[in-house]
Symmetry: C2
Subunit: 221 residues, 2 copies
DNA sequence: TGGTCATTCTGATGTTCGTTGGAATGACAT
DNA sequence: ATGTCATTCCAACGAACATCAGAATGACCA
């Protein structure tokens, strides 16, 4: 014990996890999986990958211990191995954003100008408690079903334009989505503001809240 | 905004950090740097690397935003960019150990059989408060100077055999080192036990305690 | 039992990465 | 200025990786 070969072997084990985090496509898949289980095909189309490439990436993630599989009928569903993987992913993004100026630029380019002030989770909970806001979850239906903020109204972004009547004009609307790096809430707030609603965006989202146990389930997982 | 190219660019930014974590040598260097600044030469010999290879790895880490440089005389000292990098490293190890059986085996092979029960930080603090233990920091001198547990006695492992007289036979001795994956405290406890002392090992170490603000400094950083 | 379909495996190709010795840089000291 | 010394840059090699189309697998279902 204590010898070089054993030390290299141990660190190579840690590096196997690091390597799995070293591809933008794998990270994108990880981020999707943080919202709930997905089939290979669903992941491939969401991440803009060929089926076999996607499968290969999933093998890498599986060997790294980051994801698990479950068979349902003739489909195989991948999901995160545990919440600590989501935490690791969150951690990675935090470090990248904090220490890499390029990352901040890329974030702005993807999410659009940060015109509306984002509402912190602390402030959001306070205002829900005070009852002066309507909270809207703008993610796709299966993700909402997989866990959402108690009391949130569910309107997927694609349906938002057609369901504006469901929202009050006189109260402030706070939209949230997958997390800090998801476009959905940004898009929703832009749309709502344009139509004359008072809307703002939650800074955090499902990923962050799952890690702090703030999400409620709908029965079916 | 919201288009594929921008999304790819953002995730490529995150992946740049992941890639930096995808080499066992870089992780080893990161672990050393978590204990304090080091010159290129020091890192190269500690990690068993050629100078130019080591320098290349350091460039990778620097571009990923994980480390920073400081010039002192004709030497360049590298150090972690911030504590959140150490946290990320800690997180990575936790995930690897939890989800990869191979990693657990490699850990056992490197650290040796886990014969002595490790003392948790909570229990350690309690027993320090009760005053019934002697705490020994067995890391090299510069690392001790860079921060250590208040009240700890400092005896580097290499000097331990020759300085046994400084330790009491009638009280329990608890040794700690860099962290959960460091051999030093394991070695120290084996030596002490063999010589008839009552000794055990702290489960955590400097890395973990730095993250929770438990370390005291010596004046000179 | 044989067909179907989602997924994985197999090569093959272009790209990136790790490692190396030796040359270039650039701060310091005389 | 000139020499010294730590570090970085350079060029080149082999190894590992991402991607893709197509073949193989193997669980489901009629």
């Amino acid at each position: 014990m204590g010898d070089r070969a054993a030390k290299d072997a141990l660190y190579a084990e840690f590096a196997a996890v690091g390597k799995a985090l070293g591809s933008h496509k794998r990270l994108e898949m990880l981020d999707l999986l943080a919202q709930g289980p997905r089939s290979v095909e669903a992941l491939a189309s969401a991440a803009d990958l060929g089926i076999s490439t996607c499968s290969a990436h999933l093998q890498t993630l599986r060997e790294a211990g980051l994801v698990e599989t479950r068979r349902d009928g003739r489909r195989i569903y991948y999901s995160l191995a545990a919440d600590d993987v989501a935490k690791l992913w969150d951690n990675l993004r935090r470090v990248a954003l904090r220490h890499r100026p390029h990352t901040q630029l890329a974030r702005a380019a993807y999410l659009g100008p940060d015109d509306t002030e984002a509402v912190t989770t602390e402030a959001l909970l306070q205002r829900i408690h005070d009852g002066d806001v309507v909270v809207v979850d703008v993610r796709p239906t299966p993700e909402f079903a997989g866990g959402h903020l108690p009391g949130a109204v569910h309107i997927p972004v694609e349906e938002l334009a057609g369901r504006l009547a469901e929202l009050p004009v006189d109260r402030e609307i706070i939209a949230y989505c997958r997390g800090q790096y998801c476009v959905l809430a940004h898009d929703a707030v832009r749309l709502l503001t344009m139509r004359g609603y008072r809307a703002s965006r939650a800074r955090d989202g499902a990923l962050e809240w799952r890690l702090s146990g703030l999400l409620a389930h709908d029965g079916a997982a």
